[in-house]
Symmetry: C2
Subunit: 330 residues, 2 copies
C-alpha cells in the first residue's frame, strides 16, 4: 500500500495512492490524516489496504490524478524524529578527512540524534535558507515509521513495529555543525528541514528488496540534473532499522508515527558515488588535500529517488530547489 | 488563564482551571485539545479567557472539582521540545566537579538540545525506569509554550510568541549521559521522560513575577518530602526565554505548541539548594572530593512546585514516584 498527504491545514489530507503513482483516492472515510491512521493502525490498516486494492483495480470512481507537487510530507508534523548514522563507513570517511580516528565503539553503539519533527516539508517544497555561508547540503536517507513501541523492546520485537517506509532529504547546514557538535548537545540549528518522498509504502510493497531490517536498492541523489551517487541502501548499513528502533526505545516507549532514519546512505569505497556533498568533499580532501565541490547555492536543485527492478520510482521523487529566505524585520 | 488536559486518548481533553486550581470546566466547545487551541490561538484564546473569567466568578454551572491526579501533561504529545541549559552557573559547577574548564563561548552561545516530545507524562504519573544503575535524577525547570515562530526571528520578536508558562521535571539518567555526550550527538536514552505541572498559565497570570523574559520566583524541588532546593528562577538565567526561542528559530520556523525549557534552575553559590541531585553531588565533590547523596531509587518521590507571593501554588504540583519498569520479553 502507498499513502500520501495532500497539502491541507497543518496535518494534510490522507490519500491512498496507486502502485504506479498515477491515481489517488481520499482516505477521509477511514482516517482524515496519516497520524490518525497510525494512532489506530490495527483497525485502519485493513480498510486502507482494501481501498488500495480497489484503486489499483480501477474500481474507485472518486479516484483522481495523483500530483506529487500537491503533497505535504506524509506526516506534515510528527511527534518524534530520530535520525541514525547507521552507515558507519560514512562517519569513518568524514573523520578520516579531518585526520581524526573513529572510536571503536561507533561500530557497536548506534549514533542517533533527535531531529526537528515539526519541520517536515513536502517533496517539492523549497528549501528556505537565510545564508549560503551556512554550507547547505542534502542527505539522502531511508526512513521507517513505527507504531507504538514499548520501552525496552529488543530488535526482534522492534522489527514488527515497522509500518511504513520512505525516503527523506535531511537538509544539513555543514558550516554550523562543528560548533554544535563541539558543544556535545547534538545538532540543532544545523539540521533545519527534512523533506519526504511523496508517498510512504508498507513493507509488503517492497518485495524482496525489504528483508525486514534493511532496504536493498540503490538510493539515487542528483544535483542540478547530475547524479551524485546511487549507493545501495542495503549494503554497509552497520545498524539495521530494528537495531536503531531498539536503541531509541531503550529507556522509554516510542509513540505511533515515530520516524527513524538511517542517516546518509554510504557504501564502503563510495564507488557508486555519495548521498551528500559532504562525503564528496571528504573524498576530495583525502585524495588531493582540498575539497573542490562546493555546497549548494540558491537556485540549486536536489532530486532523491529510488527505483525498483523495472526502473520505476517506488516512493516518487523528492525534487527541491534551494531558495534565499528573508527573515522578518527585527 | 490556567489550562490543563485531563487524561483522555492520546491528546487529552482541554479544560480551563480556576485561578485557585479548585474548579475546572470543559473547553470542548472552544477546542477539544490544547494543541488544537494553540493551532488557532488568535481565535481560541479570547474564548478561553472568557470561559476562565466565568469560572473564576462561579458562573459555570458545568464546573467540577479539579483533580490534578486526573491530568495528563498539558500537551500529552507535542511536536517540538527544545530544552536549554540557560543557567550557565549550573553547567560551570558540573564541569568544575570533574575538573574541566567551561568554554568561554558557553556564556554567549546558548546550549540547547532536542528532547522527546512524544514522551511527555502527567504530573502524577510514575517515572518508569528499568534500572537504578542508570542513575535516576530529576531536573526542575521552567518552560514556555510558543505559537508559530517565523525562522530568523529576533529575541524582540520571539518575546511576543510566548503563550503559556509552566514547570517540568526533565527526568535524567545520569550514568547514561557521559557516553552519549562523548558521541557529540546529544542526549537520547539519557533523557527518557518529561513530566509537567497540572496546569500551564498565560503570562498575564503571573503578574510582576513574569517580566516577559524570565520568571522571578523560587522553584521548589523536594525528594521524599525533604526540600532539596528553591533557587530563584529569575536569577542567574544567562539566556532568557526570548533569547532561547530566537536561538531555536535561527534556521527554521517553530510550530505552534513548541515547548522551550530553561534547563535546571540554578543560582550562583547554590545557597538556596539545587533543582537536581547531580548539582548536589557536584557540590559535595567540590567540597569533600566525593559525592555522598545517591541518585533516586525505586519508590522515591519527587515534588516540584512554585508558589506565589501568598504561598499559593501557581501551576499545581508535579508529584511523582520512581517505579521499576519491566520491559517486554525478548
Amino acid at each position: 500500500m502507498k499513502l500520501a498527504s495532500l497539502r491541507s491545514g497543518r496535518d494534510g489530507k490522507l490519500v491512498v495512492v496507486s502502485r504506479d503513482l498515477n491515481r489517488a483516492v481520499s482516505a477521509a472515510q477511514i482516517s482524515p490524516t496519516l497520524q490518525s491512521a497510525l494512532d489506530d493502525w490495527t483497525s485502519t490498516e485493513p480498510a486502507l489496504q482494501a481501498l488500495y486494492a480497489q484503486l489499483n483495480a480501477g474500481e474507485c470512481s472518486e479516484a483522481f490524478a495523483f500530483d506529487p507537487a500537491a503533497c505535504a510530507a506524509p506526516l506534515p508534523r510528527a511527534y518524534h524524529w530520530a535520525d541514525g548514522s547507521a552507515y558507519v563507513t560514512h562517519v569513518e570517511l568524514v573523520r578520516k578527512a579531518r585526520g581524526a580516528e573513529l572510536p571503536e565503539s561507533f561500530w557497536t553503539d548506534p549514533l542517533v540524534y533527535m531531529g526537528a519533527s515539526d519541520a517536515f516539508i513536502g517533496p517539492h517544497d523549497d528549501i528556505d535558507v537565510e545564508s549560503e555561508a551556512w554550507g547547505i547540503d542534502f542527505e539522502a536517507e531511508v526512513v521507517v515509521i513505527t507504531d507504538d513501541v514499548p520501552a525496552g523492546s529488543s530488535p526482534e520485537l522492534a522489527r514488527d513495529h515497522i509500518r511504513l517506509i520512505g525516503l527523506v532529504n535531511d537538509v544539513s547546514l555543514r558550516n554550523l555543525i562543528p560548533a554544535e557538535l563541539g558543544k556535545q548537545f547534538g545538532f540543532y540549528q544545523s539540521k533545519p528541514w527534512t523533506s519526504f518522498t511523496p508517498v510512504l509504502a508498507t513493507p509488503d510493497e517492497l518485495g524482496d528488496a525489504w528483508d525486514g531490517a534493511r532496504l536493498h536498492l540503490p538510493l539515487r541523489a542528483s544535483l542540478n540534473g547530475k547524479l551524485i551517487g546511487a549507493p545501495d541502501a542495503g549494503q554497509d548499513m552497520t545498524f539495521d532499522f530494528p537495531t536503531l528502533i531498539a536503541h531509541c526505545a531503550k529507556s522509554r516507549s516510542l509513540m505511533a508515527g515515530t520516524v527513524i532514519g538511517s542517516g546518509t546512505v554510504s557504501n564502503v569505497g563510495s564507488e557508486q558515488g555519495s548521498c551528500c556533498l559532504a562525503e564528496v568533499r571528504c573524498l576530495e580532501i583525502i585524495a588531493t588535500g582540498a575539497a573542490t565541490t562546493p555546497f549548494m547555492s540558491f537556485g540549486d536543485r536536489v532530486e532523491i529517488d529510488m527505483l525498483d527492478a523495472n526502473g520505476t520510482t517506488i516512493f516518487g521523487k523528492i525534487d527541491q530547489v534551494v531558495t534565499h529566505y528573508q527573515p522578518p524585520e527585527k
